[in-house]
């Protein structure tokens, strides 16, 4: 199947295809002439009907003297992940923009310009995306000659945001960075005409932490999974395992079967706590707090279970390159089965109640519309796409871990609105329970970690897709020297789904904004510190840890 796709491309474009690397039946790398990137991508996206995944830039100057741009596509039915590679000169790199023909590439190309200084020629909206407005021009943090801890000269903290002009007849309404119903720092500038949203400008990346730079400059293969786990508070295990899989895929490490089953189980446990949480949040956003409380109560035993298995409620610390760190004992398996049984019966009650609830239905039906065409254009993934009737699921389409050894259904719904997403997420819980039970039945004995005796080879390209609770998470890694990746790119599902938000909220009421955005789960953590000041004397007292503890234990306070 891979060779057929390659032949199709060769027949059509001939000499523009410079080199092809057929890794296996599921992976294909094609090096092309950068001058013909636009027609080739158009052909792949429109005529061959591929799904656009992400564009990735890499500074390869220390090794080959060139910049690299990878356009990632996926053929879901044929189970192929497909990569188009353009080599650009090391001086003044420029590449034709594909955002005109593939709107989903908009952010990725702006990011290329911000972080690597690769100019997307002909980009329809070439505004700064990742770097703050105050950042001086000409400094590109992901270039290899930019130190990880450097703050460039000329950083202007006083500079204000550079917003677009409000369209005539509209009023700009700021939504965020800190909005009562949206706990995460991201700013939507809504253009409102009366009560209807006519458009918006998005400003985000306020919590950009530079993890990709850290992974290629300070940390090593052993450390990055732990950091990747902290990309997201909900899909942490997904990102850590996806990084491991990308490196294993590139370096050719074979994971032991037992570790694959354990990975599958933990990924599903993560989905099991994420879906009830999201359904609860969706109810909370439409003002239905009773069900919010109940959904979270039902979720809680899953968190305790995860804590028993891995030692932590959320950051499992599960994945390392070549395997996993925690094993299942027979007692744990029995306990997990019991928790799953309870969850299944309780969740069935919730589904029975919610699926007929006219109030929730009225608030979510016809809101945040994402039909099949929008899913294709913007590359939407996960429950958003499945709620719109697009039958994609990385677990089935690009099997990883032990998903090729278990049976499950991919849930789709055809209403294309938030209600469709609620239904998809509610029903997927049963599929996850089903998958975990099958894994317990089929789990073999054996080692947990592959025996890696030599250094991982450098310069190999590995990429993988994992189905996170929110959608497909795509990780890309080039292995490198010094026991660390040369380039690592994590594309979370929200990266694509957020780009669809302006189209989803267009011409809708401003009151529906929150629930349209509801697919983005808020996560925030904070540590309270305390100091007491006597108002009369002005004396300050610092509390020690022991005092704080005993104070919190005593009811009098």
């Amino acid at each position: 199947m891979v060779s057929k796709k390659l032949q199709q491309l060769k027949d059509k474009f001939g000499s523009a295809i410079q080199q092809a690397d057929v890794v296996n039946d599921m992976r294909l790398l094609v090096y092309i002439d950068p001058a013909s990137v636009k027609p080739i991508c158009q052909y792949i996206f429109r005529d061959m009907d591929a799904r656009y995944v992400i564009s990735i830039g890499s500074d390869d100057r220390p090794y080959s003297g060139k910049f690299l741009v990878f356009h990632q596509f996926a053929f879901d039915k044929e189970k192929i992940l497909f990569s188009i590679i353009c080599q650009l000169p090391g001086e003044n790199p420029r590449i034709d923009s594909i955002s005109g023909i593939i709107p989903a590439a908009n952010w990725a190309e702006r990011e290329l310009k911000d972080l690597l200084g690769i100019e997307p020629v002909g980009h329809p909206y070439p505004k700064r995306l990742v770097l703050p407005d105050a950042w001086p021009d000409g400094h590109h943090p992901l270039r290899k000659d930019f130190a990880w801890n450097k703050i460039p000269e000329g950083y202007d903290e006083e500079r204000e945001f550079d917003f677009d002009e409000t369209p005539p007849g509209c009023t700009a309404v700021p939504f965020g960075p800190f909005h009562p119903t949206l706990d995460e720092p991201e700013h939507f500038r809504l253009y409102v005409d009366g009560e209807f949203v006519r458009g918006c400008e998005y400003r985000g990346f306020m919590v950009h932490r530079g993890i990709e730079k850290l992974s290629e400059s300070v940390l090593g293969y052993n450390d990055v999974p732990m950091m990747a786990e902290r990309i997201c508070g909900i899909c942490g295990c997904v990102h850590s395992l996806a990084f491991c899989q990308a490196v294993e895929n590139g370096a050719g490490v074979i994971v032991p079967p037992r570790a694959e089953f354990i990975r599958t189980i933990m990924l599903e446990i993560e989905r099991l706590h994420s879906h009830p949480m999201w359904v609860g949040l969706a109810c909370h956003l439409v003002g239905f707090d009773t069900l919010f409380m109940q959904a979270w109560r039902i979720r809680e035993p899953i968190m305790w279970l995860a804590e028993k298995i891995t030692g932590n409620r959320k950051t499992y610390g599960l994945g390392i390159i070549g395997g996993v760190r925690w094993d299942f004992t027979p007692e744990l398996i029995a306990e997990t089965r019991a928790v799953l049984d309870k969850l299944e019966s309780e969740w069935r009650q919730v589904v029975a109640a919610v699926s007929k609830d006219k109030n929730i239905m009225a608030r979510t039906s016809g809101v945040g519309m994402a039909d099949k065409a929008l899913c294709k254009e913007m590359g939407l993934v996960g429950p958003v796409a499945r709620g719109g009737g697009v039958d994609i699921d990385a677990r089935r389409d690009h099997p990883y871990a032990a998903y090729d050894r278990v049976d499950f259904k991919v849930i789709t719904h055809n209403t294309a609105d938030v209600w469709g997403r609620v239904v998809v997420r509610m029903l997927e819980v049963f599929e996850s329970i089903n998958i975990i039970r099958q894994c317990f039945d089929k789990m073999p004995q054996g080692p947990l970690v592959a025996d890696i005796t030599t250094e991982l080879p450098a310069g190999r390209v590995g990429y993988t897709s994992i189905e996170a609770p929110r959608g497909e998470s795509h990780h890309f890694a080039i292995t490198g020297d010094d026991n660390r990746p040369r380039r690592w790119r994590a594309r979370a599902p929200t990266y694509q789904n957020l780009q669809g938000i302006p189209a989803m909220i267009k011409d809708q009421r401003i009151a529906d904004m929150q629930i349209s955005l509801g697919g983005i789960d808020p996560c925030m953590s904070c540590t309270d510190r305390m100091e007491t000041i006597d108002i009369r004397t002005g004396a300050r007292k610092s509390w020690t840890k022991a005092e704080l503890l005993s104070l919190s234990r005593s009811r009098k306070g």
Binding site: V218, L219, N222, D223, V224, M226, M227, E229, R230, T290, L291, M293, Q294, R297, E300, W304, E307, K308, I309, T310, G311, N312, T315, G317, R325, W326, E346, Q349, V350, A352, A353, V354, S355, K356, D357, K358, N359, T527, D528, R529, M530, E531, I533, R540, S542, W543, T544, K545, A546, L548, L549, S552, R553, S554, R555
Partner: protein, 175 residues
């Protein structure tokens, strides 16, 4: 129909009853595998620096202040309790304790500092910690010559619960 679904939702709530735990007034025991704050055992530690090499948040520092003395400093600020240090420790000198209530305004409450006496190999010049009790005693006697120093060594090499090791690092909150 909607009335029926509301009744079902009410039934879910009534069946569940009250589930809130009275934390922090009563704390619940944590499971066996729980990963809390890492704690170093200065007796077992051989100063191999494996933990420092494998710490994803780069929270463990190793300083060789001379050929014989190696200082291991756990900073405890942005530690994520991933437990990689305990995984790679060849001597099981690090345990992931069950302590998780680490809110404090004194960073020294969380820090640990180990002073390790390293033996020098006459052939290669590199060091490892003297392990025999006799050797350890000798080391102690050597250090005990200086009483002021001895006190400092005692405080810094052992883990003393509830006592800050260094007093100089206090976070002042602005009034």
């Amino acid at each position: 129909m909607s009335i029926l679904s509301k009744l079902k939702e009410t039934a879910i709530c009534l069946n569940a009853g009250r589930v809130t735990m009275p934390y922090p007034f009563e704390s619940k025991p944590v499971p066996e595998r729980f990963r809390g704050r890492p704690i170093w055992d200065h007796v077992k530690c051989i100063g191999c620096a494996g933990c420092a090499n494998n710490c994803p948040s780069r929270e463990i520092l190793i300083n060789d202040i001379c050929q014989e003395i190696r200082i291991l400093h756990y900073l405890g600020r942005r530690c994520t309790y991933c437990g990689r240090c305990a995984d790679v420790c060849p001597e099981d000198a690090i345990t992931m304790s069950h302590e998780f209530e680490n809110g404090t305004n004194k960073i020294t409450d969380l820090q640990q500092r180990l002073e390790l006496f390293m033996s020098t190999c006459q052939r290669c010049g590199r060091c490892f910690k003297g392990q025999s009790p006799l050797e350890a005693l000798k080391m102690k006697g050597y250090r005990a010559d200086d009483l002021a120093n001895d006190r400092w060594v005692f405080k810094s090499t052992a883990y003393l619960p509830g006592q800050p090791i260094l007093e100089d690092l206090t976070i002042e909150l602005e009034g």
